[in-house]
């Protein structure tokens, strides 16, 4: 069950539109900076497969300029005892 956090830059003037779009998507929670054109996105997906699908979807969003990951966590790997979380890099 991966949880990832991103810093998202919207295209110029499209911050609110992007915020709405992201919050409307499944598995996504976005919050907006008060005084800069920056969003924070936290994704919480049930499995690796959904996560990959979601990432593809995210990349299709027109109002998004860039997406940078700052945090990653996957408890599937930690709890099932299948390796140390590095094997699929």
């Amino acid at each position: 069950m991966p949880v990832l956090a991103y810093i998202v830059t919207p295209r110029s003037g499209e911050k609110n539109k992007l915020l709405k779009e992201l919050n409307a998507m499944q598995h996504c929670e976005a919050l907006s900076a008060d005084n800069a054109d920056i969003l924070i996105l936290v994704t919480d997906t049930p499995d690796k497969e959904t996560e990959k699908q979601l990432e593809k979807q995210l990349n299709k969003i027109e109002s998004m300029e860039s997406l940078s990951m700052t945090f990653g966590y996957n408890d599937e790997l930690q709890y099932k005892g299948e390796g140390d979380g590095h094997e699929d890099r």
Partner: protein, 772 residues
């Protein structure tokens, strides 16, 4: 609500992203609150009185779209001059708890089912009709509150007392202000303080009588502190049974044993007379002396009856009566050193000092509440320190409209908007204004609050409508009254904004509009009427309490008495109500003036507010030609009463060896049904506790946070101990705040009351402690 592991990881993820963003873009910020979608950042500010206590601070509510988003103190309001307390600043958040009631619910086969509100109102009207037909008009009752707006209380009184003809109208202000009312009536003949908050700007000495003002009236307390800082000639004395924030901010803290305030007040009078600090000019012209009945009982039995009888005495008789109260004798009873009693007397007696006394529940929730109110007036009257700027015996209120709605509109069993039901003239005036046939109003009062809940338990009352209050947390000796409400064949309607232990016993729940979701008026402690508009719309089907009553009244066939449209009903009701007070003693401001100003004081005569009553320079009702005119009494004098010390209804003994005192904390207001839904307030004060004196705790081996069982003859409750916490009770006493519905302290308290005011004593009963 527990934060689970998953949401913890998510919040850690967000925090890490925020931290990264902060390092990449200095100065970036993410507010911790959720942002209103599409907000331009533009706010419109609307005036209102604060929702909570009786201070009546003016607030400006910031509105964006149809939501309240911010608060600031109203600089134009003379009460608080732009400063609020932590409750006021976060008051608008109380509108937005997730479990807000937005739909009507009706009990069907034992389960609450949501129904359209019109259907619920039909059911209420039908049930009232049926109950009246079956059991008579005195089997239906209305129980309201000092948080009712003035129109709420007015239409309740009109429907029940006028149209239905039952005096079964009471309000929770009986539990908080009744002794203040009877105190004013017995001493001055008219209700409500002669002074105003401006007294704070002139007084040199402040004495708080059993009143933790620093927490309960913080805005007024900080006005006192500001004066002390500015003027250098200000002394604050805290006279109390427990060491509190007020004691610590005061110049001197004097502690007394519960109930002995009666003796100390008399000892102060004894000293004033012994030193001849009496203001003879004032006393000879404006004061008369009286005594009443003694050994007056405690109202513990059902159908208890008491009527006081005043008897005139002369000054010498009063002086003889005080012989039992020398400082040395009183020191033995009260634990207050004789030199401290003399010190207090010297402050009141010093002709160069202006003295203001403040009190609230410590004196009112007292089985001799009327008496102790009388006794403090005695002190001020003997030295003539009254009704002038800075000289003020000041009775504070706990609810935003205890004065406005309960005392002025008269939503108590014996009262009408003007006068009492027993007086033919008062009934005639009400019948005329209400366009009812002569004889519609019953000349006999029925039940005061405790008696009303006893009647519900016995079955004399079958239908009760409860609005804006939470008696299933606040009634003393709670179990009896909860069991009573739950009995077969009792029908309870509750109008409220959130689920509470009281909605738990309801057969019908009506969702109510809260505070600025409706138009209305409150009346604060200093005779100030404060209007507010509907600033934001009520959620869902929520409806103002006034309109709920109007809807039911119309269903009962009283369209003629309740003809107003929903657009203008508040203004129309106000102008009708104002006709009751058409005299220089009580004139109220017109609707237009109320709408324009941040509160207007009555008597409002010829466009001017009255700040000091009974003072000919300020009060247009004074007609005697003297400096002062106490026009409330037939002899045109203020009455000094010889009232003795009598013990509490229940005092600690061998088995139940502790006093139990109950009260509030700054963060929470009353039962916390609103303030606990405000994140800042709940985070700061998440649960109740029992304060124990550190030495008592050491004797019993109790440590901080340990669970302690508090047991009385009525019931028990287990809660964590607090030692050297917010307050410290004296040895042999424990204190519990009552805001927490998880720890219902009123299971333990006693329903003894002042026989004159019928107000219960929540400050004194006997308990024992056990480790849980």
């Amino acid at each position: 609500m527990k934060i689970d592991r998953r949401s913890f990881i998510k919040s850690a993820a967000a925090t890490s992203a925020v931290a990264t963003a902060t390092s990449l873009f200095p100065g970036i910020s993410f507010a911790s609150w959720k942002q209103l979608e599409g907000a331009t950042g533009m706010i419109r500010w609307e005036k209102a009185p604060c929702r909570f206590c009786g201070t009546g601070c003016g607030v400006l509510v910031g509105v964006s779209g149809d939501r309240a988003v911010a608060v600031k103190g109203d600089p134009a309001c003379s009460v608080n001059k732009g400063l609020c307390c932590v409750k006021g600043y976060h008051s608008v958040q109380a509108l937005y708890g997730k479990d807000r009631l937005t739909k009507a619910q009706v009990r069907k086969n034992g389960k609450m089912v949501e129904v359209p509100i019109q259907e619920a109102l039909d059911i209420i009207a039908a049930k009232m009709k049926e109950t009246i037909d079956k059991h008579g008009k005195d089997s239906v009752a209305m129980y309201g509150s000092g948080q009712w707006t003035i129109p709420d209380g007015y239409v309740a009184s009109k429907l029940f007392k006028g149209c239905i003809g039952t005096n079964n109208v009471e309000a929770n202000a009986r539990l908080c202000m009744a002794s203040a009312v009877t105190g004013f009536l017995t001493s001055f003949g008219v209700d409500e303080p002669m002074g105003c908050y401006e007294d704070i700007d002139y007084a040199n000495v402040f004495i708080t009588w059993g009143n933790n003002m620093a927490e309960m009236h913080p805005v007024l307390f900080s006005r006192m502190l500001a004066q002390r800082k500015r003027r250098n000639d200000v002394t604050i004395i805290d006279f109390a049974t427990r060491t509190t924030r007020t004691s610590q901010a005061s110049d001197k803290s004097i502690l007394f044993k519960p109930q002995t305030d009666l003796a100390v007040a008399n000892a102060i009078c004894y000293e004033i007379i012994r030193n001849d600090w009496v203001n003879w000019d004032f006393v000879n012209k404006h004061v008369s002396f009286h005594k009443g009945k003694t050994n007056i009982g405690y109202g513990l039995e059902d159908k208890f009856k008491f009527k006081d009888k005043a008897e005139g005495i002369d000054f010498e008789q009063f002086k003889t009566f005080l012989k039992d109260y020398t400082p040395e004798k009183v020191e033995k009873m009260s634990g207050v050193p004789a030199r401290d009693i003399r010190y207090l007397a010297s402050l009141y007696g010093d002709p160069t000092k202006k003295v203001t006394s403040f009190w609230c529940m410590g004196m009112n929730q007292h089985t001799r509440g009327t008496w102790i109110n009388n006794l403090v007036y005695n002190i001020h009257l003997l030295v003539g320190k009254i009704s002038t700027p800075g000289n003020s015996p000041f009775s504070l209120t706990g609810q935003p409209s205890a004065c406005g709605t309960v005392r002025e509109v008269g939503t108590l069993t014996h009262k009408l908007p003007h006068g009492v039901v027993m007086k033919p003239k008062a009934r005639e005036l009400a019948e005329k204004i209400w366009e009812l046939p002569a004889g519609s109003i019953d000349p006999k009062p029925t039940y005061h609050t405790v008696a009303m809940f006893r009647a519900l338990d016995r079955g004399d009352i079958r239908f009760m409508w409860i609005q804006v209050t939470n008696p299933m947390v606040t009634m003393p000796k709670l179990k009896r009254y909860r069991d009573g409400a739950l009995k077969e064949d009792r029908f309870i309607v509750v109008s409220d904004v959130y689920p509470t232990p009281t909605t738990d016993v309801a057969d019908v729940i009506l969702p109510a509009a809260m505070w600025v979701e409706q138009e209305g008026m409150f009346g604060n402690s200093e005779r100030r009427t404060q209007h507010f508009d509907e600033i934001v719309p009520p959620p869902g089907e929520a409806m103002s309490d006034t309109w709920q009553i109007i809807e039911v009244a119309r269903r009962l066939g009283f369209e003629k008495q309740f003809p107003w449209s929903q657009e203008e009903y508040i203004g129309k009701i106000w102008e009708e109500y104002r006709r009751f007070h058409d005299s220089p003693k009580h004139n109220m401001a017109p609707y237009k003036v109320l709408k324009a100003r941040s509160g207007v004081q009555w008597p409002f005569v010829n466009g001017k507010e009255t700040r000091w009553r009974f003072n000919a320079k300020h009060d247009p009702a004074c007609t005697s030609g003297e400096d002062f005119h106490f026009y409330g009494k037939k002899d045109n004098r203020a009455w000094i009463w010889a009232r003795p010390y009598e013990p509490a209804a229940e005092s600690p003994d061998q088995e139940y060896n502790f006093w139990l005192n109950t009260g509030r904390v700054i963060e929470h207001w009353h039962t916390g049904s609103m303030t606990r839904r405000v994140p800042v307030l709940h985070n700061a004060m998440p649960s109740a506790y029992v304060e124990i004196n550190p030495e008592d705790a050491a004797d019993m081996g109790i440590v901080n946070g340990e669970m302690i069982k508090i047991i009385s003859r009525r019931g028990e409750v287990t809660m964590p101990a607090s030692i050297n916490g917010r307050g410290v009770p004296t040895r042999g006493q424990v204190f519990v705040p009552f805001f927490d519905e998880k720890y219902l302290i009123n299971e333990v308290t006693l329903d003894a009351f002042c026989p004159i005011s019928k107000q219960p004593d929540y400050k004194k009963c006997a308990v024992k402690l056990e480790k849980a």
